[in-house]
């Protein structure tokens, strides 16, 4: 078994994004998806700070710091881009106009609850940004993350123990080991990396995992 690299997870997510889709890529890991989308497919990227039609990073030295993404990195515009203000940008999200947003996560529960903004630690400074708006706003919210934490703890869980970002908002999860749908029955396996068996993936998943490929339970 060979875990997917971050770039490979990004490529796997990108494969499922239809041509012409309106997509918001969250900060961190999901940002990598942009590099895996070929320009010919014309996926239109939204950034919460007021731009549709976001292009790749400028060449070094060409940065315009009035033209940045949600992660405050310099970006560019593509032909067909449009700028708008913050209320319009978040109305666009909340109103269900984005086809897909891809977010990172600390935990996702089997009913699609998402925790990705706060570890719950007493001394943490809370900072939510646009995560809650994105989580509940897009037509589909996809999660891109490692299957378990570095310490081996479950991130796909029965019930989230961290403070929630949104309730029942996740539809699909892409990890370094698998692609999993959130269904009315709970987690449902869509795809597994070669060399990993059902017992192993089920053990790495903190809630019942159904095998969506043949409509049975994995464990």
């Amino acid at each position: 078994m060979q875990r997917l690299t971050r770039e490979q997870i990004a490529a796997r997510v990108a494969k499922d994004i239809p041509s012409g889709a309106y997509v918001n890529l969250g900060i961190g890991l999901p940002t990598l998806v942009a590099n895996a989308l070929s320009p010919e497919r014309e996926v239109i990227l939204h950034t919460e700070n007021g731009l549709l039609g976001m292009g790749p990073a400028p060449t070094k030295g060409e940065e315009d710091w009035d033209l940045i993404n949600a992660g405050k990195q310099a970006v560019t515009t593509l032909p067909g881009a449009a700028f708008f203000h913050h209320a319009d940008s978040f109305g666009m999200m909340r109103g269900g106009h984005l086809d897909i947003c891809v977010l990172g996560a600390f935990q996702v529960s089997q009913n699609g609850d998402l925790a990705n903004w706060h570890t719950g630690a007493a001394d943490a400074i809370p900072a939510v940004g646009g995560a809650m708006d994105l989580a509940i706003g897009a037509k589909q919210t996809w999660i891109m993350m490692e299957h378990v934490t570095k310490e081996g703890q479950h991130k796909l869980v029965d019930v989230c123990t961290y403070p929630l970002t949104g309730k029942s908002c996740v539809s699909r999860i892409y990890t370094d080991l698998a692609v999993i749908d959130v269904t009315p029955q709970g987690f449902s396996l869509v795809e597994l990396i070669p060399g990993l068996d059902l017992t192993a993936i089920a053990a790495l998943t903190g809630a019942t995992l159904y095998d969506g490929r043949k409509s049975g339970e994995c464990n």
Binding site: E42, I44, L51, G80, A82, G95
Partner: protein
């Protein structure tokens, strides 16, 4: 490649269903999508609910749709005008249902639909018959009425220019309800004077980003009509 430009106006409008709620742009004749309305008459959908500021002027556009008896109900702010004889006749004959909404509430209710707001407390109309039996609340010493979003199945609007991604700019006061309706409808169909190359619109000046637009048709500009 994304291409929202339809090469036939009939094609653009073919899937409008009986019973649909249709948001129709325009304030008087400015911004009225005459070609799309004509195509809708030809298409034949009936039992429609129309949301528009006025209830038609003269015998063309929305008035012609009403005359063709395709409209069950109209939600608007100002049906009665010097040239609204088609609507007046249907209304007096009891052949059309009317819901009068203050103009700003009409706009804000569609804005709420587009922006995912569930309901909002609005001061307009408080204490008047148009507030009906709706919930009211005093907030910070002012009285408000609870207003709900108006969603459209389809929006038919007029813009000045578009590109193939559906980005729009409008012309002068013909902008009016266009941007609000585009965001409030599931399927937004736009007639424009001119289609330009992608990149031909300044990103700083795009009024309706293409995300709100599903189809665009280039219509020979009809002779705009005075009220």
């Amino acid at each position: 490649m994304i291409d929202k430009i339809c090469h036939s106006i009939a094609e653009a409008i073919k899937d409008v269903k009986d019973g649909a709620t249709i948001l129709v742009g325009g304030f008087g004749t400015a911004g009225m999508p005459f070609h799309l309305i004509d195509a809708l008459i030809d298409q034949g959908a009936k039992d429609l609910t129309i949301v528009s500021n006025n209830a038609g002027n003269g015998d063309t556009g929305l008035a012609a749709l009403l005359k063709a008896k395709r409209v069950r109900k109209i939600i608007c702010s100002f049906p009665r005008q010097t040239d609204s004889w088609v609507f007046d006749g249907l209304y007096r004959a009891g052949e059309i249902e009317l819901e009068v909404v203050p103009q700003g509430n009409l706009a804000e209710r569609m804005r709420a639909a587009g922006a995912g707001i569930g309901a909002f407390f609005c001061p307009t109309g408080y204490g008047t018959m148009l507030a009906g039996n709706r919930e009211t609340r005093e907030i910070g010493g002012r009285n408000y009425v609870l207003e709900y979003p108006i969603h459209g199945d389809v929006a038919l609007i007029k813009a000045h220019k578009a590109d193939r991604w559906g980005n729009l700019v409008y012309r002068k006061t013909a902008r009016n309800f266009g941007p609000v309706m585009a965001a409030a409808a599931k399927t937004t169909i736009v007639e424009v004077d001119t289609v330009v190359e992608l990149g031909g619109l300044d990103p700083e000046s795009v009024v309706t980003p293409g995300i709100y637009v599903q189809r665009v048709v280039e219509a020979i500009q009809s002779l705009a009509k005075a009220a």
